[in-house]
Subunit: 476 residues, 2 copies
């Protein structure tokens, strides 16, 4: 775990061994010379993702297939040559899922970026894995349809990466996560076996649910080459509001009460004092620096329902002691409210040489307990920890600022993180709500699952990839 806090420069990426000529020539035959990279600059670039600090290893080559047939051929070659393969979308994952820790090949799916079909009548779409999430949002919204999953990195992230990690986002509370929108997949197993799972009907109980097994498997079971996604009608109306509190506990209680009264906002975000101050200093969006906490809420749905829900949320907020509020009256005001949230991570990252954003997730009624526990853990270990996150679905992101060159501080950070996980699990939560396990949390898996359950995961991995060549060393 300590490794998580080293920057890539501390332990420079290294090439374990160069790719022999024979497989290189075969890769060139398969995808074309321009789509096999082996220059040091490229290998460096593809040696890490958005999990900072794990010592990076250079891949032996980066391969960029243009179609499923090429993926099949690459995985056939890889099996034959016993080369490990790490599938990669945009590399925005925070758990190290795209890091080639054993060298081998990085398989970049970015050239496969066609939206093959948007089927308005059946409200579904067929896409290749390299399609950028936000571009897909625009394409379906232009047709009056809606694809809810909106991970933080959606302007860069790819749908293939989203499926591989079952990416979440701000709208998870009402709309669920990527898993809830994947109807079917085309995928290629290590060795080149091409499979199709699920299909284009909403009801489907035809054999084992391989679709959901692959969703969230972080590139360790198969390479996803085509995705059938469910769409829904775009909400008629949306309203955004900001609620200000002088006590974070009152904000957390508002979250519980809103949900207890069966109002399900599309988005229900929390930011604590430190986050508010840092965002305001960075982005000057008019946040109240003296507030102890802020809630950002979006309600959506039918026009009349949205108005009613908005009023209800404001009433609850007043009862629970909100000191101020702002309802967005214009599109501009709405963008301003959400910019505060979208800028948080960037603003916090400026504070120190190291930033670690965690993914503690609890049942939503335990959000007040978890918020309190985060404050206590920060004090106990003297670490700078701010909290923002998706309060409505219990998915909090406590974020630690630290100095990687201060070993004493980093040791305290490590202990604080371990206690965060233990607390989340004790409150009925989980290790990861949306960032995934891969490298970052692999060693904590025994806290969450019994050895018997983990052995089932390992058995499935072995059944699909006996030589453990596909994204090795991740999850189990």
């Amino acid at each position: 775990m300590a490794a998580q806090y080293q920057s890539p420069t501390q332990s420079p990426p290294r090439l374990l061994e160069p790719l022999p000529e024979a497989p290189y020539r075969r890769l060139v035959e398969i995808v074309g010379r321009e789509n096999v990279y082996r220059e040091p600059d490229d290998l460096l670039l593809y040696s890490y993702d958005s999990l900072l600090g794990v010592p990076a290893v250079w891949p032996q080559a980066v391969v960029r297939p243009g179609c499923t047939e090429e993926v099949v051929e690459v995985l056939r070659l890889a099996q034959k040559e016993k080369l490990s393969v790490v599938p990669r979308g945009a590399g925005t994952g925070l758990a190290g899922g795209a890091m080639p820790i054993q060298g081998g090949l990085v398989l970049s799916l970015n050239r496969m970026k066609t939206i093959r079909e948007i089927d308005e009548d059946n409200m579904q779409a067929v896409v290749q894995p390299g399609v950028v999430t936000a571009e897909f949002h625009q394409a379906v919204e232009a047709r009056g349809l809606f694809y809810p999953p909106d991970p933080g990195s959606m302007t860069i992230s790819t749908l293939g990466g989203n499926v591989a990690t079952s990416a979440g986002g701000l709208r998870g509370l009402k709309y669920g996560v990527t898993r809830d929108y994947v109807m079917g997949l085309e995928a290629v197993l290590m060795g080149g076996k091409r499979i199709r799972t699920g299909g284009r009907t909403f009801k489907n109980v035809t054999g084992y649910d391989l679709t959901r097994l692959l969703v969230g498997s972080e590139g360790t079971l198969a390479v996803i080459t085509e995705i059938i996604l469910k769409l829904i009608p775009i909400p008629e109306a949306r309203r955004s509001l900001q609620l200000i509190y002088d006590d974070v506990d009152k904000a957390a209680r508002t979250v519980s009460e809103v949900l207890r009264q069966r109002v399900i906002p599309a988005t229900l975000e929390i930011m604590d004092r430190l986050t508010i101050q840092v965002v305001e200093d960075f982005a000057h969006v008019g946040l109240p620096r003296e507030a102890d906490a802020m809630l950002l809420v979006e309600v959506d749905g039918a026009e009349e329902t949205v108005e009613r829900q908005l009023v209800r949320v404001l009433e609850i907020a007043r009862q629970e002691g909100a000191v101020d509020y702002k309802v967005a009256r214009t599109e501009e005001e709405k963008i301003q409210i959400w910019n505060a949230r979208r800028n948080s991570y960037g603003a916090l990252a400026r504070l120190s040489s190291t930033i670690i954003t965690e993914d503690a997730t609890v049942p939503r009624s335990r959000v007040p307990d978890m918020m309190r526990a985060i404050g206590e853990i920060a004090r106990k270990y003297s670490v700078t920890m701010s909290t923002l996150g998706h309060a409505g679905d219990g998915n909090l992101h406590p974020t630690i600022n630290a100095d990687k060159n201060n070993p004493a501080e980093m040791a305290r950070v490590e202990k604080a993180i371990e206690e965060l996980f233990q607390t989340a699990l004790r409150l009925g939560g989980t290790l990861s709500g949306e960032h995934g396990i891969s490298l970052a949390k692999k060693r904590f898996m025994p806290l969450a699952f019994s050895e018997e359950t983990l052995s089932v995961m390992r058995a499935i991995k072995t059944a699909l990839d006996p030589d453990c060549l596909l994204n090795p060393g991740k999850i189990v």
Copy 2:
């Protein structure tokens, strides 16, 4: 397939070999003498489920564990003695999933029927597998919560059986199926390995999604011993209506147009001419015997939205040529509308010695094509086929009445069914929307999946149950 049309009496159930004394004594130790059945009457009863006609085989014993620990011990014994085990809920499945075709033990989960917890704040429940679906509906609705899956057999079926088959129902269009409500499981693998999957948070990407792998696996991978179910707020308002057509094509076009205009009813059912006549003759609920088709619609949600949607559906129905309609004004009228649908299967079953209800499922825009194809196939093979089903989600139930003592007719029926599946698949559909594969459709799996995809399903089965003792001979 021919086997499907033989009645149990044609080929009487038989005991392959009696259970030896040693394992019998061990079973008695584990669950108590009163919970091990081996009398012929009991063995006969547990030799079949609701798939009529497959030659039934008696189990060697029926075992009724009272808790997870007893399930563990039974599966440990079964592995040691190489006894096959067929988990069983209420035996209402239509695909033979609960039939002990190789003898062995039937493991009845009906004693494990406690609702352990209804967590209103987090809108989730923890239940044992033997809880009856409709009783669970009542329990959560008493708390203002809603569990949408409503399979036809819900007054008898169990939640464990629903999870094992990912049961659907009338509300699938708007609310999805059982799969969409299972958050976590406790399950026991053959050999007695006890696992926990998923959890109590809505966002959860902690390792492979074993939860969804087990959902719909029809008792072939594990015995489900505890279920965490997601609940949602109960809709504020519900309105039901009946639409009458002189042409089934107009009814099918209404379905497409309603959905195209982004109105998503909770339920959108179709009944064709024969079904209407038979139901009316049986139940005398005032259906128009001269109509060619009928749609039954329920819209639900916020009060004001429901009214608006009701008006919209009526407008579309008029445009598409509905000749009459009835909106339920009272609870009694509503019950009357839905009684027509709930009585259909029973009414049709009275028509002949054999009834076969199929499960052809297509993308919803293809419902008009599928309805036409069903009519053509019925004419082509001279079989009596009526159609009812969940038109809104493309899940149709063409139902065949035939005489099992007429071999020539049964041969035509068999051909008609095969052509039904081929047509559904050609239209982008699937083999089973909600009834499952188990025995009934196992031999059609190669029509739906490539050998490569099937080999992955087999690899998973082998990884979890190497000796193939858990519900053997089903799915793959």
